[in-house]
Symmetry: C2
Subunit: 332 residues, 2 copies
């Protein structure tokens, strides 16, 4: 039995999803020889620490009832540096201005000899190559499957499943909110503002939808993909971005009459880094509807491989985080 | 630098594709620390052996000019047993009556301490669990990504990328010939016999199309998937199969008017193993056209993940074989 100790830094929807999925899978993983123990949890108000493994069910209940998990006052950085553990699961909220607190958390983790698994786009959209170098310098594993495409294992697909292929380019829909808005506008012939309000009521769009509808969230994800696949060191500010706010129902109807749909497409490859609305043939593999995400990978041997699935959701994102944790458990 | 020695058993379209892809990737792989050396090639007429590595370009040329690779008279089994090597790439033609010669080749490989990579469905559709056990008993790796879905890395997706998930079921289109026929019939409103002849002229369907159009090829692939994912030990004869020969253009037109397409769908999960034509909503992720293959994996955490790509082609199949070879190079 291999014991793997980890802390969850950030205990919002994703952090709680990780805790729930570990509760669900604990016994099955033990049968595979892996004993996952959460030894620290930190949220913005405090922390819980237990070297023998936190009772996750009661931590989840306390979070639900009190709005916080806090039993102690140590900071996230204290937990990262001072507890004996293998992996830091960094799932604090994305901040694309300066990447904090994720950036400091990840750097502290690598400096303290911990592997890092994250869903936090901010630090990676701003300084991917620095973080990668910091992991490599310390001989540690850095995994970030959950930063792009939610439940879809895009990085595993590119780096492991398609090993041996040269990746020529990548195209995709990496934001479920805009895909939902464009799909509804086309199907119901409704104006942008109307569908945006509907999406906000359903919790699919945020109160301030700017990051999604202006394509910034897509640009962050695209740059993480491009840096990881092509070894670039771009930031999201290097992406040429056009959002969806100026698309009219009339434009969508015209496209539909000619068997096209309009999608907010991210494209990387051959030096290009763009996010913009594109006409996509209705039968093209990228033409997925609703809140789905999709990535199409163009390779020299395998041709085009397209993968789609849920791009958001706490348990779906936790699925990607869990597969990264298991990768580290098996390869460290 | 890790030297990995392998033999290619069977030198038809797939075997030659493997040789071509190794020629293409040799230098790139050396930069990753892997020196792939083909030390044996066997086709039905003879073999070539070179402990220092065969000149693949001249072997491919000789095959093209003479129709065979033979320089020596050793049999495939001799090569498998007697050359010092790590991996046997078994790519002889599929035989679903008794699995030969693939079954004997794979068994000899495991008994001689070689890992096996294969695209040969026959032995796996007949006695998957025996082969898996034989590999495990000898502490060897058995990889078969190319047996199902050509270039699409389905097994990697299920076993590695979605690690931690419980797989609830799998649905897919696993035969490109029937997908081409159904797509053309629907789009051009042509009868089955007409489109079949067209597919035969294009080399998409074989002269005797029975295995494809009666769903037997799909059943073989489905049973390999089901055995691998659910730990079953079924054979292709356990699959409930209906082919596409009785589908009329009128039925497809009726489906189309209601925004459905008809697809030959393979289904496994919950004890079910079926191949049959199904109505699929036009916007469903499984509704891919032309010769594409697609697999949709239903999981407990990640939800539905769908992956599509080319299901056939020598270089596309070689892509899956190469990724299996690299997996073994890195994990043995």
């Amino acid at each position: 039995m291999k014991t793997v100790k980890l802390s969850i830094i950030g205990f919002g929807a994703v952090g709680q999803g990780v805790a729930r999925s570990i509760v669900l899978k604990k016994e099955a993983l033990k049968k595979q020889g892996i004993d996952l123990r959460v030894v620290g949890i930190a949220d913005s108000k405090g922390c819980e620490v237990n070297a023998n493994g936190i009772d996750l069910k009661s931590a989840l209940l306390r979070k639900k009832e009190n709005g916080c998990v806090a039993k102690g006052a140590e900071s996230a950085i204290d937990i990262i540096r001072e507890i004996e553990q293998d992996i830091i699961v960094e799932v604090t909220p994305t901040n694309i201005e300066n990447g904090e607190p994720g950036l400091s958390n990840m750097t502290a983790a690598f400096e303290s000899g911990r592997h890092v698994v994250t869903s936090n786009k901010g630090p990676l959209a701003l300084c991917f190559s620095d973080l990668k170098e910091c992991a490599e310098d310390n001989g540690l594993i850095f995994r970030y499957e959950a930063t792009v495409g939610g439940a879809i294992p895009i990085f595993n697909l590119v780096h492991e499943a398609l090993a041996g292929n040269t990746i020529i380019g990548i195209e995709g829909i990496l934001n479920g909110t805009t895909n939902y808005i464009l799909t509804r506008m086309a199907e119901e012939r409704l104006p942008y503002e109307h569908v945006l309000r509907e999406a906000q009521e359903l919790g699919i769009a945020e109160t301030d939808p700017t990051y999604d509808v202006e394509g910034i969230d897509s640009a962050c994800k695209l740059v993480i993909l491009a840096n990881s696949i092509f070894g670039q060191s771009a930031t999201y500010r290097d992406v040429d971005v056009t959002g969806i706010t100026k698309i009219t129902p009339e434009a969508l109807e015209l496209a539909g009459r000619n068997n096209y749909v309009v999608k907010l497409i991210c494209e990387a490859g051959n030096g290009v880094l763009t996010v913009a609305p594109h006409l996509v043939p209705r039968r093209h593999p990228l033409a997925v509807g609703g809140t789905l995400n999709v990535a199409s990978i163009l390779t020299d041997l395998a041709g085009r491989i397209t993968i789609s699935g849920k791009g958001a959701g706490s348990i779906e994102t936790a699925s990607s985080i869990l597969s990264d944790i298991l990768y580290i458990a098996r390869n460290s």
